[in-house]
């Protein structure tokens, strides 16, 4: 499956997942609590993102790509702020949101999904007291990982079948056959798990 991870050897890549998540969360939180009343906050937010992406092996091109990927979100944020708040809060808060999103994106960019899943699974045992079975939860995550491509194929097959019959673009007509197909797949998956001795 396609992930957000980009292979590399930067300092962010070399940090273990847990401490990296904490460090990035601190930066995100710091940028988030800055007041919106001053222009320098926009500069500080931009500087935080530039420093985080400025390390060797990441680079400004990567930052540009991240900003481009979130352009709609930023545009909606900027437009809403401009209409309701005025130009300065709009500029400061949009810069802040852009910085927060791009800095947080570093976690997924520089950490393998398996490493992050391991970190999540390590965080599960304390939840045991709440009735969460860690082994069960880990199994559930990996079953879902394998189910997603199968469901994407089901969705594509339904869409193709409808296109062949001249049905186009109707969400309602698409979703019922897709759901039924997917839930039948769920029944088979449940049987397959039982057959393999998982109870």
């Amino acid at each position: 499956m396609v992930t957000l991870y980009r292979a590399g050897t930067s300092i962010w890549h070399r940090l273990p997942a847990g401490p990296k998540a904490v460090l990035l969360a601190v930066v995100v939180l710091a940028v988030s609590v800055l007041p919106a009343a001053h222009w320098w906050v926009a500069g500080a937010a931009a500087a935080a993102a530039l420093v985080c992406y400025g390390v060797p092996g990441i680079g400004m091109r990567c930052l540009r790509e991240q900003l481009w990927a979130t352009r709609w979100l930023l545009l909606v944020t900027a437009a809403g702020q401009l209409v309701l708040q005025g130009p300065r809060p709009a500029a400061v808060n949009t810069a802040r949101v852009a910085a927060v999103i791009t800095v947080a994106a570093l976690l997924a960019l520089t950490t393998r999904v398996t490493d992050l899943l391991d970190a999540i699974e390590r965080a599960l045992p304390p939840l045991q007291r709440l009735g969460v079975d860690p082994a069960r939860a880990a199994l559930l995550l990996s079953i879902t990982l394998t189910a997603i491509p199968a469901l994407a194929r089901t969705a594509a097959a339904v869409r193709e079948a409808q296109r062949a019959r001249g049905i186009r673009g109707s969400l309602r007509l698409f979703i019922v056959p897709f759901l039924v197909g997917a839930l039948k797949h769920a029944d088979e998956l449940g049987d397959a798990l039982t057959a393999r001795g998982i109870r």
Binding site: L24, G80, R96, D133, A186
Partner: protein
């Protein structure tokens, strides 16, 4: 609602949860997006509404939680290929947490008292759980993240209300169709083939 909270997840339930998490993900793929006036709107909230309605409160919430855990682990499963921790710290992060609350409330209302879903209760569930609860978590978080006062954030969020209302209507219609076409999907006692009420009779003579 018949099962106790402490029971271990059965394999059947686990498969249903995994598949529904995948359904919500698949609804965010290119092509699963309907376009209103050039702005892509996500069909994923529709998937969240349906997760609660089909799986019930507990499993529906779990399906959303599993999807969000995979998103947090860096999989681009949200509409537009978004994912990773960035999705949670941005302005729409609160809505993602709201999805869990929404799925729970939708499930609780649709399956109230373990009865078969009827259209008006389903519609109420979609509006209360699928829209109001998601907004109730999403808007305050958006207000904090963007430093836009709460009242103004509410106004800004009204732009998304028509789309969400349309999805609530679609979700209600889909649940109605699913009850008739594939009652097994709900995994409830009323959906068993040996249902004792007259409605389950295969003879359509009295219609």
């Amino acid at each position: 609602m018949a099962t106790a909270r402490t029971t271990r997840l059965s394999t059947t339930d686990m498969a249903r949860v995994a598949v529904f998490a995948g359904i919500i993900a698949a609804l965010g793929l290119p092509g699963g997006v309907s376009v209103f006036g050039g702005v892509p709107i996500t069909a994923q909230t529709l998937g969240v509404m349906l997760a609660g309605a089909v799986l019930g409160a507990r499993l529906g919430t779990l399906a959303v939680a599993v999807l969000l855990a995979l998103v947090a682990a860096g999989l681009p499963l949200l509409t537009g290929g978004h994912g990773g921790a960035a999705a949670f710290v941005g302005p729409s992060g609160g809505y993602l947490i709201g999805w869990m609350v929404g799925a729970f409330v939708v499930g609780a209302i649709v399956h109230l008292g373990g009865r078969k879903p009827v259209w008006w209760r389903t519609a109420a569930a979609m509006v209360i759980g699928g829209i109001a609860c998601v907004y109730a978590v999403g808007i305050p978080v958006q207000s904090v993240v963007t430093h836009l006062p709460l009242g103004k954030t509410v106004i800004a969020s009204l732009a998304f209300l028509p789309g969400d209302a349309a999805k609530a209507v679609i979700a209600t219609l889909v649940v109605g169709t699913l009850v008739r076409a594939y009652p097994r999907a709900f995994g409830r006692t009323w959906a068993l083939p040996v249902a004792d009420d007259a409605e389950a009779s295969p003879v359509p003579a009295h219609r």
